[in-house]
Symmetry: C2
Subunit: 329 residues, 2 copies
């Protein structure tokens, strides 16, 4: 089996590649070629796959993905995107990468399909950013995507294309509306959602973190480990069970900032908790106010997608996967 990961230098793409390389297989079938591309050349992970290829590819340049598809990978993971803030700051770049890059990929697959009958499984990283306020406390399963960012718009368009290309038989697509990923490893970034991870990750390494919103703020989360699980399941499941609505709300944990802090205290103690500094930020408060506190994902759960049940579980996954099993604080 040949596997292609587009966006393999990103946080989830990298972890997904590491997991597939470590397993050496996908859905019980040996992976004999793993191709990893991103705008910067990804790092090949350790593992048992004989043929791991890495390359720097700019998906926004026309036909960039054609040579990758000519190799006829059985599974294509498409995670390449510029993030919300950048897509908002640079309108053209956001549409070029997040919309045109996705459409070009699907077109390359269609061209190969028309040539040879090739119909790969395509797993598309979408986002709960397709949903825009106002909405109820819990966004229903079939709620309209009415994004309030260009990024969310581009993801919603990618979903529509994925569903139509699937319906027409050109590919076999599954779109995953990912919850906010927490705890994100690595350095704090400028994303408005960054604090959700910062207030856990930094204190667990003995560092201070800023909390810009109230403890009562509720949002919808999954760990990086759960996200990797979503992609693996989507790549190997029986898609006939999904029906025509191929874009699925992924299960997530609906929790408050207070729940996060309680989990931090339980796992890392009062010392860690004391490293969280409350510095209200009106801009971030306003942005986060437009995010979904909870999202119905009964369909995905029925289809076998799973996620953490508590923030303590999310924190413990971070400690196991990123901190070698122990907290430093």
């Amino acid at each position: 089996m040949k596997v292609l990961i587009i966006g393999a230098a990103g946080m989830i793409g990298r972890k997904l590649a590491e997991r597939i390389a470590a397993d050496g297989m996908l859905g019980g079938v040996a992976v004999d070629r793993l191709t990893m591309v991103d705008v910067v050349e990804p790092t090949a992970p350790r593992g048992t796959i004989g043929d791991v290829r890495t390359a720097a590819i700019d998906v926004s340049s026309p036909r960039a993905t054609e040579p990758l598809i000519a190799d006829r990978p059985d599974v294509v993971f498409h995670l390449a995107a510029i993030v919300s803030g950048e897509a908002e700051a640079d309108f053209d770049k956001g549409y070029r990468i997040n919309l045109d890059g996705t459409r070009d990929l699907f077109e390359a697959i269609r061209a190969e399909h028309l040539r040879s009958g090739y119909t790969p499984r395509v797993v598309f990283a979408s986002s709960i950013a397709v949903f825009g306020a106002p909405f109820d406390a819990r966004v229903p399963e079939d709620f309209a995507p009415t994004p309030l960012t260009s990024y969310g718009t581009q993801k919603a368009i990618g979903e529509l294309l994925l569903a139509d290309y699937t319906r027409r038989g050109f590919l076999d697509g599954v779109g995953l509306r990912l919850p906010t990923i927490c705890v994100r490893p690595g350095a704090p970034n400028k994303a408005a959602s960054g604090f959700f991870s910062n207030i856990l990750r930094e204190p667990m390494s003995g560092k201070e973190a800023v909390l810009p919103v109230a403890d009562t703020v509720r949002h919808y989360f999954a760990s990086p480990r759960a996200a990797v699980g979503f992609f693996l399941h989507a790549a190997t499941m029986d898609t006939a069970r999904i029906g025509p609505r191929r874009n699925l709300n992924m299960p997530g944990l609906s929790a408050t900032v207070g729940d996060e802090l309680e989990a931090l205290r339980a796992v890392a103690g009062d010392g860690a908790l004391a490293l969280v500094k409350r510095v209200p930020d009106e801009t971030i408060i306003r942005i986060v106010d437009g995010w979904a506190p909870d999202i119905e994902a009964a369909r995905a759960r029925e289809l076998g997608f799973t996620v953490e049940d508590s923030f303590e579980e999310i924190v413990r996954a971070h400690i196991e996967d990123e901190l070698g099993g122990a907290v430093r604080s």
Copy 2:
């Protein structure tokens, strides 16, 4: 005021142009230039507008609409599209006209906006084809567009673009999800929905018509006259009242084929009714089974959009607008 109609040779575009030309104004403001374009050159309507321009433009050729936007029309009606059946038969052509043509238009407007601050009202013809089964007996207001045709997909993408370009301030957009238009004037066409009009229009002219589905089939309708009213209202209303969700389910009449036949009988008599021949067609039965029987449109009604209350009203509008006030049978 300058008005541009793209898709002015189509049935609704033509009627919209005729109405604006007859009124000589839009929203109480004199129209001093009306530009009408389509893939075939539209016919200039009679009226009091001094400057009526017509041209053949292929919106699918890149930058085709740039010269039109350089004229800075205050209101842009965008109705150009290829229909459902053709978009399904010719995948490339559907995406080129319905998606790329729409995006090119919005990009031309954005470019002019960035140059000069130009921010026109843009009224976009979308369709209830954005909704795909399964759904409840009445599609709720905020139900997810999950189209089951490429045409519906392209319209749903156009809606997302319209909303994002509006949010970013490049244009002031209103998207109208049009019900099935009935009674369509002119000759019977091959659209799967054609019979809804044929069974009224043909008998009223003394001709036979084929009914391929059961009398109990329920669907969602508006007359051509009501549709023109939607466009005029969207062009002149206070869009600040709409909020960020700029794509609106238009009000429609939820009615059965039996309701249609009863209206035909009431208006044109038993002789006309006898011209309707029942010839079940499994293909059409299956297609129509995926269409919405009713759609919630409370938001649009609150915003002042109106439609017929009965099929008799729809039939009488047809007799007034198309038959010179009298039935021929």
